[in-house]
Amino acid sequence: MHSLPMHFTGTHACVLGASSDIGMAVAKKLSEAGMQLTLSACSEKGIARITSAFPAATILELNLEKVARSVTIDTGVTNSPLGQIQQPDYLVDCMQSDFEGFIAGAAPKDIARYFETNISGRSICLRHVSRMMLGKRFGRCLFVSSTAGVLPNAGQGFYAASKRAGEALFQNLGIELAARGVTSCSIRLGYVQSGRGTAYIKNNPEAVKLSPARRAITSEEAASTIIFLLSDEAQMINGTTITMDGGLTACK
């Protein structure tokens, strides 16, 4: 098998939601490439998972709901865990909290909390990281999105809305800062054989067969594509969303 080289100007990557299967796979590849890592998770279990797998990494317990709430009472980000993220060259955002419910059926409190975490908290985090990148005029940001954003499914409205919002944030960032060396894009993944996707595929095996590829994406495949999108060679993929779904969303 042939292999082609990729190049990376930066040396430090921050992976949010690193305890997810995709986050772990991305962190593993970055670690193997000798990249300095800052990894975040929001639960004790997640922290234990990444600490054990990446003992040399800076580990961050990051609850974006708390981050969003703390700035609304004006304590700023310096006192929050965000202040521990130091000058990353790359940001991979795999963070996504779990919540499904019908629009008319979900509890208002749950809706507010979900969006605080996945939209407000994400925006504040992206602001924090991108300002550091702007200061050194280099940075590459990547948001891990989902085809759920464009293929509506009952019960996934809030998830879809937060993914579309994330794509919009990362798209705008790339438009605003590309001339200053900071670029950004999103990857919209179809069915992935990992994490919550594994359970979904098990319960809905017919769903995967709707994809022309007739199979789910592996974490390894997703991680390899993400790594390519971080590379110097992919920096002109900016302000846009790449779809990786085996052709799922191309079909009627």
Binding site: G76, T78, R131, L134, G135, L177, R180
Partner: protein, 122 residues
């Protein structure tokens, strides 16, 4: 290094202009090719150069006209209201700003210097 030199350095780094082009009385948005995104970079640069976390809104007088209107709506003298919003600016400088506000964006390099020095003292 003086505060003015620090501010001058940040601006010349971002705009890639000569230091001679940035004096205390230089209008940041009238005399220099500053775009709104540059203001953001100035804020980040000042943070790095001076070790002070700046409020972009206050240091760059972004909401000056809003605060002027606010004073008028609440029947407060503009001079007094602006002094409370921008404590780093002297009474004379605020008076000057009010007199020249219709000529264009009033922010001068000396206003940024005043903000940083005020923050350093606090």
């Amino acid at each position: 290094m003086s505060t003015f030199t620090q501010v001058q350095h940040v601006i010349t780094e971002v705009l890639e202009v000569e230091p001679e082009e940035v004096t205390p009385s230089t209008y940041v948005l009238r005399d220099l090719p500053t775009e709104s995104i540059d203001l953001m970079e100035y804020g980040i640069g000042l943070n790095k150069e001076c070790g002070i976390s700046v409020s972009d809104d206050i240091v760059f007088l972004k909401s000056l006209r809003l605060h002027m209107a606010e004073a008028e709506d609440n029947g407060i003298e503009q001079q007094i209201h602006l002094r409370s919003v921008y404590p780093h600016l002297s009474t004379d400088r605020i008076q000057e700003i009010l007199q020249t506000v219709n000529a264009g964006p009033v922010l001068q390099v000396q206003d940024i210097v005043a903000y940083i020095e005020h923050a350093k003292r606090a």
